[in-house]
């Protein structure tokens, strides 16, 4: 089992390394949207800090008192003035990710690198299917997550009555750990469903969801271990990045801080893509290869979306001239 897990992790790593360009584009997109999302905050900062000597106490260190005074000034305005635009752009990033993910999965499950045209064609073909998968996911994760969260709140509430002061903390830790694991399983399930939708060009997403449920159920430990290990690596990356930032970047080095934070962001993004790549690798390894469709057979559902210039399903060379 361990060997299989390790194989899966490295198979995923190979896929994600081969397609690292996607991480770069998603990072760039995230950065761009974050810049838009923080524009209001930035303009407030410049108005408050650019001409005041007090700003030095935020540049050379971080004086919490000065920061609190800044945001408490009437000129600063309400906190939602900074938070709401950021949330809108975060939501936009989520939508773009939803739209582009089929293309990424297509690349992860292909031997070669799809062209840009194929990438976006795949995205367009699957966008509503992914939206439907998201609805399924929302229902499942909402119901199970909601129930678990209610249990978490109830248990913590009860634990607070204990005379053992650390009990609420351990209860938090244990219940949140369980919630994390359960939500990760659900995430695996729907990651596989998305791969299934892309690979099979599946219109009836419920079939993909059902199939993915079976795969997840049959290989739960291996998949969960893979996802959790990558997640822990992500936490280590975050902790290490923050440590480097704190230890080696002087407080006034704005460029250094920017570079370190962006490396953290890229690596974190990479962790999620790695998980998806593992799901893709698992799917390609575990699912039975369908027999090639006979030439006389009815066109496959996907063929009606394919360009005449695209290679046929059986891999034969496109007609010349």
């Amino acid at each position: 089992m361990l060997k299989q897990d390790t194989k899966l992790i490295f198979a995923g790593l190979r896929i994600v390394t081969r397609n690292k360009g996607y991480i770069f584009w998603f990072w760039l997109l995230n950065l761009t949207l974050a810049e838009f999302g923080t524009a209001a905050f930035r303009s407030r900062l410049h108005a408050a800090l650019d001409s005041s000597l007090l700003a030095d106490r935020l540049l050379h260190g971080f004086d919490h008192g000065v920061y609190l005074e800044m945001v408490a000034r009437p000129e600063w305005g309400p906190p939602r003035g900074s938070a709401v635009p950021a949330m809108y752009f975060s939501f936009l990033f989520f939508l773009v990710t939803l739209f582009c993910m089929p293309g990424v999965l297509d690349a992860y499950t292909s031997e070669g690198k799809p062209s840009r045209e194929d990438f976006f064609r795949c995205c367009g073909r699957n966008v509503w299917r992914f939206a439907r998968v998201l609805v399924f996911y929302g229902i499942v994760a909402g119901l199970i997550g909601g129930a678990l969260l209610s249990g978490h709140v109830a248990l913590v509430h009860v634990s607070k009555k204990s005379t053992y002061e650390l009990l609420p903390f351990y209860t938090h830790l244990a219940t949140l750990g369980v919630i994390f694991l359960v939500l990760t399983v659900i995430r695996i399930w729907f990651d596989l469903a998305q791969v299934d939708v892309v690979v099979r060009d599946q219109r009836a997403v419920r079939k993909s969801v059902a199939a993915a449920f079976r795969y997840t159920q049959q290989n739960l430990i291996a998949l969960l271990a893979t996802y959790v290990v990558i997640c822990l690596l992500g936490v280590a990356v975050l902790a290490g990045g923050l440590w480097v930032w704190r230890s080696f970047v002087p407080p006034s080095n704005v460029l250094g801080a920017f570079l370190v934070t962006q490396v953290i962001v890229i690596l974190w993004l990479g962790m999620r893509f790695w998980q998806r790549a593992c799901a893709a690798a698992f799917y390609m390894r575990e699912t039975p290869v369908e027999p090639p469709i006979p030439a006389t057979a009815e066109p496959s559902p996907s063929s009606e979306f394919r360009s005449p210039l695209a290679p046929p399903v059986d891999g034969a060379a496109p007609p010349q001239g």
Partner: protein
Amino acid sequence: MTLRQTLATLLVASLVPGLALAQLAPAGTGEGAVPAPFIPETTLAINSPTPLAQRVVAYNIDAKYNAVKHTLDGTELLTYHNVTGQTLDRFPFHLYLNAFQPKATWVREAKAMGSRDTSYEEWEEKDWGSDEIKSFEVVGIGDLTSKLEFIQPDDGNKDDKTVVQVVLPKAVAPGDYVQFKIRFHDEFPETQARSGWNRDFVLGGQWFPKVGVWWHGAWNCHQYHATTEFFADFGVYDVSLTLPQYEVAGASGVLMKEVKNSDGTQTFTYHGDDIHDFAWTAGPRYRVAEDTYQGTMGTVQLRLMMQPAHWRQEQRHAKILKESLEHFERWYGPYPYKTLTLVDPEPGSAAFGMEYPTFITGGTFWWMPSSIYEPELVVEHEFGHQYWYGMVATNEFEDAWMDEGINSYTEVKVMDSIFGRDTSIRNLFGATYGEREDQRLFYIGVADLDPMARNAWQYANSHSYGGVTYGKTASFLLTLEKIVGEETLRNALHTYFMRYRFTHPTKEDFLKTIEEVSGKDLRWYFNQAVYGTQVFDYEVMQISSDPVNWYEKDVKEKRGETVYESRVLLHRKGDFIFPVDIEIRFDNGERLREQWDGRDRWVKFGYQKKAKIVSAEIDPDHGIYLDRDNFNNSRTLAPNKAPARKLANYWSFVVQFFSQFLAWWLV
């Protein structure tokens, strides 16, 4: 302590409870003549051969706590010495625990203004508290229970039962004593206002009927309000507390006796000298550390009652307690008591951060990092109250700033001295936070609402009460250092403490002491800061530097050669008038200092130099803490975008992270 001293102490210790019990015996029931009432001159609990205060009261209390019902039954023999110089026939008493009733003034105000402990969104049974007088007898006169009458001197709320008064059929002549024998029953609420129970913990604060203070020719006995604390006369306390045997107990004063009873209870007998209140705590899980501090008047026994999960912070608590003692003794005056008990209250209870004579509560969490000094801050603050409240016993109802505010100022001084000026609250991962800035921030949001000199219950709201009494007073005194000097102000506080300890000084006593020690007439400052609501806000409105030959065509500026006409415009935005210094920096390294008395609304300074202005700054030494907006106190000619970029990068990182988190879990 020598063996002889120990034996002598034990002898007296065994006598005092006996004395208390003798005094509790009903008049006329014993054999022979009833001894004339008096207030003992004991010094068992202080490092002084003679009493330090004029003792007006002596409380002998015998109380039994029911840990299951959270109730207490007690008998109290209160001996009152009429030192008012007037004949007294009316006596008011505080019944503080009656505040925790739905129609009481305290709850009404707390619901309207907000409270530290509970929002009172809905009334719950556990919020109930009461202090009921079962019988009230005046020795030599008889039972006057039926003559008791609740009064509401502050707001006329007939449902408030926090003050009760009795009119005696026979007045007490000046110099005479009167004894009240009171049987009472307490119901403690789940901790509110630092009194009550939580799980199996209890803190007994303001738990017995307390007589008011005759002050400036009248009784001073206010109702208990959501934003008020307490006021009482000095005296002697002998308290016997009976608790279940599994409880670990602590209290004000010195523990004189501890007896295990056959019914599964234990009785602790405490004695306090020259104190004006008595509090106690009990809980089964306390871990106790004993320590000593060698004070200037003698040894102080330190007793730290810690929660088990906080035991590894015991040394932190002991250290700050000793350092606070050392600073206060060095700067302000001696600590004369023989004991000091620090209670780390039940986690989640509203009992943290409270002061009673020789008994304070701290506040910490099991996870508290060593570079966040909140536990130290709470302990230091509550210890400071041993001076500003405990010994200099100001009227907390009417002059809350004189205990909380002066204490906040000395807290800044002590914390700065120990942990550094800009890092005295936090110094974690490069993020710093200083205590003086914290006090200022507390105040600037409510700068124009209330004067410091206002009755505590008459503030606009609880934010204003907190911001003005704590934050503004500390900022007012920190700014005063700029006028009279840090050392002079320290001397003034020392003089004030030594002169007024064990008395009830007024605000003018304090302000006049500062004027006397500094040799300065400071009324112009006090009238605005203490008695007024003037807002302090100065700004550098505009700065500019233009070549004098700007009108010539193709002017080329050369550093060190081009002559500039420079202007600085300062503006007093608020109505607080205060002389300020201004520093103007030029690009050739020159720094000019100017002064402005602030009387006009604005002032202009102009220069012609072969240098451009770099910046202008009001209060360049950063000694003014009353200014509501420090950002507009300086202005640079060329913008420096680096600070804004740094913070924007932080925020951008957070937004990117949040975006990824969202996409991670949803897609």
